[in-house]
Amino acid sequence: MNVIARKSLYLAAGLCFAGLVASAGDGGGKKGKEKPAKVSDANTQLKLPSGFSAVTLVDSIGRARHIAVAPNGVVFIRLNRSKGATKGVYRLEDTNGDGKADKITGFGSFFGTGVAIGNGYLYASSDEEVYRFKLDKDYNVVNPDNPEKVVTGLLNRHEHEAKAITLDGKGNLYVNIGAYSNACQLKDRTKGSPGDMPCKILDSAGGIWLFKADKLNQTYGDGVRYATGLRNVVGLDWNKQTNSLFVMQHGRDQLHDLFPDMWDTKQSAELPAECMYELHQGSNCGWPYIFYDQNQHKKILAPEYGGDGKKTGGENAQDPVVAFPGHLAPNGLLFYTGNQFPEKYKNGAFIAFHGSWNRAPEPQAGYFIVFQPFKDGKPSGQWEVFADNFSGGPEKTASGRVMYRPCGLAQAPDGSIYVTDDSKGAIWKISYK
């Protein structure tokens, strides 16, 4: 037994990055490497462009997903379920202006991702429903124990289940209903299983659905499938300049695992692109039949549907407006309309990349916020990393055992932006000067 133990230690050491396996996002597990003892103060965590600084509103509120900010500066965040958590929505207020939330109230016994403010209500989604809470003039929640159900009965099959939402200010509510599948194979994520033709998942998921923001108890029959062929969207935002909906799709996984003869692990780590789309009613982005290859700049026929990595497809599917590297997991999208940041940021897009897992055995990547400049409603110029070091350093990024994972984005009335972390629950306010 001793020998076995020793052997296994050997193997483990050879294979593992760290002896102590920290659970995801726990940030612990420091090994005696050359890493300097990390300052655990989230305040000093982020690396930002010159002139920008970040302070935390809270440090560890739970699995904070999306965030919405009221015109008076009150912050609402949405939490995913975690061990011991009892409330799914938090209202955070900094009453004395020191940058820290000093008035914190939790409510809503349901967990989830989506949150938005509009029409005098706070909208908050679970993985099956969209609720709303009446707000008073100070953005207090009038009846925290009795939300109204705006949409009900949405599919939740525990894959891409987050129902991200946004409002257009014209009475419409947009809800992501992610595909409960990787590539619409008859058997999900199973090697050799063909793609379902046509993909029946698209009837009730794999797209953005449109509902009325002020009508209660709507379900599929009351909504409209606004856009289809989207595998899963978490980051989405209404662009007030173009007056249209923009979304970030999470591209498919496992090209190498499922088709090792067509893609090696390096290619599979970069492909397919994580795509930004501009949507209009009737948009089709092509999932599951195609994926976008950012190197070939082409829509490639999915291997489950006869593709070989080169054949193109999706003639009727629209192209992305921006294509980012694979598996970075875009969970937050925000078009910046403020005046505080330098001019180049105006009307551009911030994207929170939650970070990859499907790049192993290659190094993981992401865990940062990217800025994509826009001009006249179109992407203009190359994207750049805006906020980095959520992970705690390059080795942590590579291993995926990171400290923080950026998820939600929102703009404050003063033109700062907020970023949530759904690992520990830090919320940063990033300001210029």
């Binding site: 996002g25 379920r81 199973t190």
Partner: protein, 154 residues
Amino acid sequence: MKKRNLVFTVASSLLLATVLMSQTKKPAAPAKTAGATASGGASASITRGKQVYLEQCLACHQVDGAGVQGMNPPLVKTKFVLGDKNTLVKIVLNGMQGVEVEGEEYHGVMAPHSDLTDAQIADVLTYVRNSFGNKAKAVTAAEVKAIRAKNKPA
């Protein structure tokens, strides 16, 4: 037959990836052959199991076996990995989705890996049960064979 629904966690961790390409050669029992020291079967099995892990499991359960938050459960000192072999083998054979480990939920889909040979399953489970800080008894090909014979995929 314990029905631990959510419990099938760990196993799931074992293999998301694919099925081995084509090796169907059974090394008979996990003992035999190869270098290894006098440590006998288990040591050689761990060595072979590591290779299976790299090809079948790593993509989801990761290099360090700690999985992915909210998606792919960890294989580190969980009762699934260290506990009942019957449960563990069946997770590999049948796949799984949805499990709670240490109060955390994992929703990732694990495909069935019944196309692995008895020896491959024994090796990879023995490897996992003796890696990532785990220490538990080896799983033998004979045990996998017996469990497979009685296994009825859901």
